[in-house]
């Protein structure tokens, strides 16, 4: 069975006024929103700008807003949004500079993390039992069964939490939910007192955890269950504990 869908697509170029274009597409019953966007590009307008890579919520590249809410369109079924003849409104993430159509400039997001020394790495994903794994090295199926994969770093840097955060809308200087969640994860990973002190100092910055005003939209929207709001609250408790000399 096929689905006939109308997409109301945000269009923008730096030298043009923003507008919405309507595209009628036909997609398979099980199609996700990204499939519909790709159909619009393939059948109607090859100038449509959008980003994607993995198609399975691993890369975080394709994040957009569908009917006003941040999602990864690669894993959200079109069916979820079908409501009679109402179109699906597809828009870029908020709180980022627009590049064109659905593409936003995420450089600021990564620069913030780089500046704080908190570039997100996944050391557990390229090591098994503490030994590095070459990417061309096939894993012994027996070891895969007995050695569980750990993913301590669930954040895929999609930027959805920054788009959903109302504080980010008020201040571009705010570290943002993803970076603060990364701070909390780093604190969990290190026992080095100097590093811990530096991390807490960063969290306690004017643009750190105290700028969060508890809307919890980051946790609500995060497609990977990173729960940044909870991480921010945990950081606050750590700072309290450090300042008043109790707890952790």
């Amino acid at each position: 069975m096929a689905l006939n869908v109308t997409l109301r697509m945000f269009r923008y170029r730096p030298d043009q006024s923003a507008r919405y274009d309507m595209f009628k597409v036909t997609v398979p019953d099980a199609a996700n929103v990204l499939d519909a966007i790709e159909q619009a590009w393939a059948q109607h307008d090859r100038a449509l700008m959008f980003r994607h890579a993995c198609h399975h919520a691993s890369c975080g590249t394709c994040a957009v807003r569908v009917n006003g809410r941040e999602v990864l369109p690669c894993i959200v079924p079109v069916k979820k949004y079908l409501d009679g003849d109402k179109p699906l409104t597809i828009e870029p993430l908020k709180n980022f500079s627009l590049v064109g159509d659905l593409v936003v400039d995420v450089a600021n997001f990564f620069q913030k993390q780089a500046a704080s020394g908190l570039v997100i790495t996944r050391p557990t994903e390229n090591k098994l039992e503490g030994k590095p794994i070459a990417y061309d090295q096939g894993l012994d199926p027996a070891s895969v069964e007995t050695v569980p994969f750990n993913r301590f770093e669930n954040c895929i840097e999609c930027g959805i939490c920054l788009s959903a955060c109302p504080t980010m809308a008020a201040s571009v200087k705010f570290f943002g939910p993803a970076s603060l969640a990364a701070l909390e994860r780093e604190l969990d990973k290190t026992t080095d007192p100097q590093r811990r002190a530096r991390l807490l100092e960063l969290a306690d910055d004017e643009q750190g955890v105290w700028r969060c005003h508890s809307a919890w939209e980051c946790t609500e929207t995060c497609p990977q269950n990173v729960r940044p709001a909870e991480a921010i609250m945990a950081l606050r408790r750590r700072i309290f504990a450090q300042r008043f000399g109790f707890g952790k």
Partner: protein
Amino acid sequence: MKLSLPENQKLRFLRWFDFRSWRVGMLAYILNRVTAIGLVVYLYLHLVVLSILTGGPTQWDPFVALARSPFFLALDVILLAGILIHGLNGVRVTLTGVGVGVGAQKTLFAALMLVGAVLLLAGAWKIFMG
């Protein structure tokens, strides 16, 4: 379809009012800001009203009579609603901020707003009937 957007970085906060993205937390966030602005405006209005006292009983007594009119009493109820929403939402923010109810912020908000609604009804009764 042409579209006018708040592309100006300083106006990005206008996106707060995109109701399509509102969930419980966002609603609480917006309510806190709207009530905060309302309470600040009220504070200044209150000071202006108090300045009538300098005019003595001839100016103050007519104002008191006006303040007892149903319209002004309704404004008192709105003021009480603002105080309750802002104060109780502040309790939620404070509790979750120190680690209490972190996993239940939506329930916490709903429960506190329920308490607020009961207090508002009682307050409105007192204002109009007391």
